[in-house]
């Protein structure tokens, strides 16, 4: 089923705001920073040693295309955040290219979000966010930050790149929350 205003595509369109960063797994790291400044850090081998999941999910882009039944492999945010002690309610995801997006922390938990590194059984291509991207399929795809590098846990909600530029702060495709005021 498609959310309102969406159409089906079989391609996998690419939308990003600048050149694709090429991040080598030798230098890649993923960090979670809490509101106290505590940093949790994973190198590529440490990250890949974590238990992974293979979600099959529907993707909905605010530019109106949807792609159904996509297959991913990634590490659940429940796993990555299990030992993180925080009172934060919000998260700002930071990418290697400087992109940011904000989400409620609750939306990353309970089996609804992953740091994904395979698509359709292959290594995630750089133009789709590889080596690893955030995957939060129940929100519009701009929330699923490509080339994710850091999750900053925050006590207050801080608008990210598109959210500060007129897009909806939450971005639920089923409520068609595309732009501010929707």
């Amino acid at each position: 089923m498609l959310p309102p205003g969406q159409y089906l595509t079989k391609d996998f369109p690419v939308l990003s705001v600048g050149p694709t960063p090429r991040v080598a797994t030798e230098t890649w790291e993923f960090t979670v920073t809490t509101e106290n400044g505590t940093v949790h850090e994973w190198s590529w081998p440490e990250f890949r040693a974590l238990p992974s999941e293979t979600p099959t999910v529907d993707l909905h882009c605010v530019t109106k295309w949807s792609k159904l039944g996509t297959n991913w492999r990634g590490v659940s945010l429940d796993t990555l955040l299990a030992d993180v002690d925080t009172a934060a309610d919000y998260v700002v995801a930071h990418s290697y290219d400087g992109y940011t997006t904000n989400l409620p922390l609750a939306d990353l938990l309970d089996g609804r979000a992953w740091i994904a590194y395979e698509f359709d059984g292959d290594r995630l291509a750089a133009e789709h966010g590889g080596p690893a991207r955030l995957l939060v399929p129940h929100l519009y795809l701009w929330k699923s930050a490509k080339w994710v590098h850091n999750l900053e846990l925050t006590l207050t909600d801080e608008p990210g790149f598109w959210e500060a530029g007129g897009y909806h702060n939450y971005g639920d495709p089923w409520r068609e929350q595309r732009y501010q005021g929707d």
């Binding site: 595509t9 369109p13 990003s16 600048g18 050149p19 530019t63 109106k64 530029g165």
Partner: protein, 234 residues
């Protein structure tokens, strides 16, 4: 509700729609708009289109390429007639924009219908009377596929340096053999990285990926390369 005021044929499969939009708040060059069609049974379909126009007026322009099995574009290119209403929303997007107050040299690189938001920037330069150095590198399959052909000839006379890259067939006497855009095209048709130009690249994904990688290889700062990518919009 917007109304179609005027149509201009660009190519056999693309036309420019000039719309009057009461209450349009104006837009920056490079922004886009959503167009929504509603059928008699209430079914709606919407697509995003780049605006070829900018400024304060209530008249906007977009250029629509027909996608044969599309849901929206065949209506807009073949059926939609002067005086007909359509729902538009916008403007949208505040990143892929050029402001006439920015003095930096500008490099525009268009692949196919990716010319539309870049044309808005060329028009904004002219409307502002700006002398900002502009270069446009425009890649299309053949001369027949060019949008805004006459207007681009005019722009070339007013200080916008335009280079064409034909991928399938070039005009008679063209110095460059047809072929995909390469780093030599971007090097000679663009600005040296040391000029720190603002680069705008718009076109299909593969084109944008290739050109933005070339710009980085030529030493351009990734923060000065803005991209807009799309597939065909049905």
């Amino acid at each position: 509700m917007a109304r179609l005021a005027e149509v201009r044929v660009e190519t056999p499969s693309a036309r420019t729609l000039v719309l009057d939009v009461p209450g349009w708040p104006g837009n920056l060059a490079g922004q886009h708009t959503d167009v929504r069609l509603t059928a008699e049974d209430g079914y709606t379909a919407q697509r995003s289109y780049s605006l070829g126009s900018s400024g304060d007026g209530e008249r906007i322009e977009l250029t629509v390429q027909r996608v044969e099995d599309g849901e929206v574009s065949p209506y807009l290119t073949d059926v939609f007639a002067v005086g007909d209403p359509v729902e538009v929303r916008g403007p949208i997007g505040g990143w892929f924009v050029w402001r006439p107050s920015d003095p930096a040299p500008v490099l525009l690189v268009a692949g196919g219908s990716g010319i539309v938001p870049l044309m808005a920037m060329i028009r904004a330069r002219r409307a502002a009377g700006a002398k900002t150095p502009f270069r446009l590198l425009y890649s299309v399959r053949s001369p027949a596929e060019l949008y805004y052909a006459d207007e681009l000839r005019g722009a070339a006379l007013s200080g916008v340096e335009v280079s064409y890259v034909y991928t399938r067939s070039a005009p008679d006497g063209a110095a460059r053999a047809p072929g995909r855009i390469g780093v030599a095209d971007v090097n000679t048709g663009g600005w040296p990285a040391s000029f720190e130009p603002a680069c705008f690249v718009c076109g299909p994904t593969g084109f944008v990926e290739a050109v933005s990688d070339m710009l980085l290889a030529l030493g351009h700062d990734p923060r000065r390369v803005k991209t807009e990518r799309f597939g065909p919009t049905g």
